[in-house]
């Protein structure tokens, strides 16, 4: 039994006079202790709403309907009353938000905001809480923590604010951490620091991490399992290597093809996905991605495609998936040859057989792991 089991989660917003919006439409995934699960997608795909629903942070309003289950360690988070949810939130399940400036209270010193969690969940008071808060800030790499505790959010730089938020989130050693675009507002060098910090947390304390991001590069370095979302549904789920080597859903293929890469040459045209995220087909009428899809066939429209599950936890929601390398006869011959070590061709944007070493590095250790 996984630590967090999200089963058929759906969130619908209804407003009078308008069609109901199914922001999240039957999303299922599970997270084990010490595992990093990624939710990837473009704006409007429902990745943030998923996390807010799990945390019970969606504003309570008449038009909101949440269905499905999110079982955390035996309790369904969606069925909890406010009181017991507050007990779990911050202690067992914590969240790191995207914009550190707007999620910190601007008129309260950092120290007070960090000790609030300690007082609420660990019953610490006064000097003891202060010492623990300083220790936490020190752990997330904020220099001179005693002084920082007395400062206000605007006096900290963006990276330090995000570190303070992470310090708050890990104050009670949560078993599950949900990070919603934790590095989007930050510069790349600061992003690298924060990602390294999150990796350490997962490695050292066995925290389960749900990473929500639009950046495929972040996912490639961090996540064990990746769920690609489109228009509120998971369209592909896979371990990270198979996902990047052999994406099956045309949307995943398109996303990988549209990212400019540092190790690609100048002047190579990107392969964008035509249209925009607005051009969706409602799921009941067929595949939401069909209007933008290059592999569209007649079966795409009519009824929504089912999730096709294959080996090793892979799944894709597509009736005409991108072909696996090794299915065509020519590739079969090559695959049986002993020199099958070379990675197969990947549609749209090939992974180079021998990626050039990253800059400024000595010879990289060669890795033999194959998908």
């Amino acid at each position: 039994m996984a630590l967090l089991e999200v089963d058929d989660l759906s969130v619908t917003f209804t407003r009078r006079g308008q069609r109901p919006v199914r922001a999240v439409d039957g999303v299922s995934f599970s997270v084990d202790a010490g595992e990093v699960v990624g939710l990837v997608g473009e704006s409007g795909c429902g990745k943030s709403v998923t996390s807010l629903a799990i945390m019970g942070l969606l504003p309570r309003q008449p038009g909101l309907r949440i269905g499905g289950k999110a079982v955390f360690d035996g309790t369904d988070l969606l069925q909890l009353d406010d009181r017991s949810r507050r007990d779990i939130r911050g202690r067992d399940v914590a969240m790191v938000f995207q914009d550190p400036l707007s999620s910190l209270n601007p008129v309260i010193p950092i120290g007070l905001q960090v000790t609030e969690v300690l007082t609420r969940h660990r019953g610490m008071k006064g000097a003891e809480a202060g010492r623990e808060a300083a220790r936490l800030l020190d752990r997330v790499g904020i220099p001179d923590p005693k002084r920082r505790l007395k400062e206000y959010p605007h006096q900290l730089s963006g990276g330090m604010r995000q570190r303070a938020l992470i310090a708050m989130a890990v104050a009670c050693k949560p078993r599950l951490l949900i990070a919603d675009e934790p590095t989007t507002a930050l510069d790349v060098t600061i992003q690298a620091q924060i990602l390294e910090l999150l990796k350490e947390l997962v490695r050292d304390s066995g925290t389960a991490l749900v990473m929500i991001t639009h950046d495929l590069g972040v996912v490639a370095g961090l996540c064990d399992t990746i769920n690609v979302l489109y228009a509120g549904r998971v369209v592909e789920t896979a371990r990270r290597r198979p996902l990047f080597r052999q994406p099956r859903h045309p949307y995943t293929v398109g996303l990988l093809g549209s990212v400019p890469r540092l190790d690609a040459g100048r002047g190579e045209r990107l392969n964008p996905i035509p249209g925009s995220v607005r051009d969706v087909l409602p799921w009941p009428d067929g595949c939401a991605f069909a209007p933008r899809c290059s592999r569209r066939v007649d079966e795409c429209v009519g009824e929504p495609p089912e999730m096709v599950l294959t080996h090793d936890g892979r799944g894709y929601r597509c009736v005409n998936p991108a072909p696996l390398p090794g299915v065509t006869p020519a590739a079969d011959v090559r695959a049986t040859a002993p020199t099958a070590a070379e990675p197969g061709p990947v549609p749209a944007q090939a992974v180079p057989d021998d990626p050039p070493p990253a800059p400024g590095l000595g010879p990289a250790p060669h890795e033999e792991e194959q998908p």
Binding site: E42, A220, F244, G254, S258, P260, I273
Partner: protein, 367 residues
Amino acid sequence: MTDTDILVEVRDLKVHFPITRGVIFDRTVGHVKAVDGVDLRIPRGKTYGLVGESGCGKSTLGRALLQLTPPTAGQVVFDGVELTTLPAGRLRTMRRRMQMIFQDPMSSLDPRQNVESILTEGLQTHGIGTDRNDRRRIIGETLDAVGLPRWALSRYPHEFSGGQRQRIGIARALVLGPELIVADEPVSALDVSIQAQVVNLLDELQDSLGLTYLVIAHDLAVVRHISDVVGVMYLGALVEEAPSDRLYREPLHPYTRALMSAVPVPDPDVEDRRERILLAGDLPSPANPPSGCRFHTRCPWAQPTRCADERPALRPVGASRVACHWAEQIAGGELRPHAVSAEVVRPEGEGEAPGVVSAPSEPGSYV
């Protein structure tokens, strides 16, 4: 390369913003050196990419190049004409030849103007086109070039998606027939799949119209993809400039190396095997930059001599230009990186005692 190939030449450009205090008498208590001595040349028909973290002065440099922000010192020569001393009227006519694309397409388009009005405004200002029909024709051709349908003319910006709005922004720059386009973060507000469309569009327009670009972005992958030459900025100055392939293969400046190693690559194999150079701390304040090499406070290769007291000049090393005293030794592996601990970065004038909390609207708190 002869001088006629150079469209834009920037010499020792400086933009300093004064920090003032006081209510009645504005005392100048210091300067934020947003751009502090930049030299660069952009050949005609090529793309120059500027990268750097937020606050390094790359946007200010782009604006100063177009004289949107008056430079404090230095020269900008556009096609043989010195812009910094040009009278306002002549400058305005020159503006037709150099246009800008802004980051956020929603806030840079007037929500109450329809697309036709947005595109006609520039034509009228510069007296292009003989009559209304002629202008309509020019606008129609521009819309085709950026891939917008003709019915877009009567619509308003809010009716378009983010990618289409950015196309309107590009059309507005393009309609005047410019030679130089300064694109400030042209794709960073867009979704990944839309980013690629806009990047491709910029590439195609360059091929068909022979445009010269200055692309300013924080995303190294985008800049590398689109640029011929890339300049890396740190705290108001160029630290390295190289052809984009070379910059990726052989970054010479320690900051470039750190920047490159921090960019996530969507490929698990590359991600797992590469070594990361993690920089400690944050960007120091441009109001009170470190002495000597500005990067020495965070540099893993910093040496006890020279780095802290002698500001390195941009000097040619191979095909690159790099501002580091020890570039050759670092590239040759003679110097090894060492750990740098994060230090507290804050401007000198702001050094309040640890117990005291400053007012939220403290002027000069740029960190």
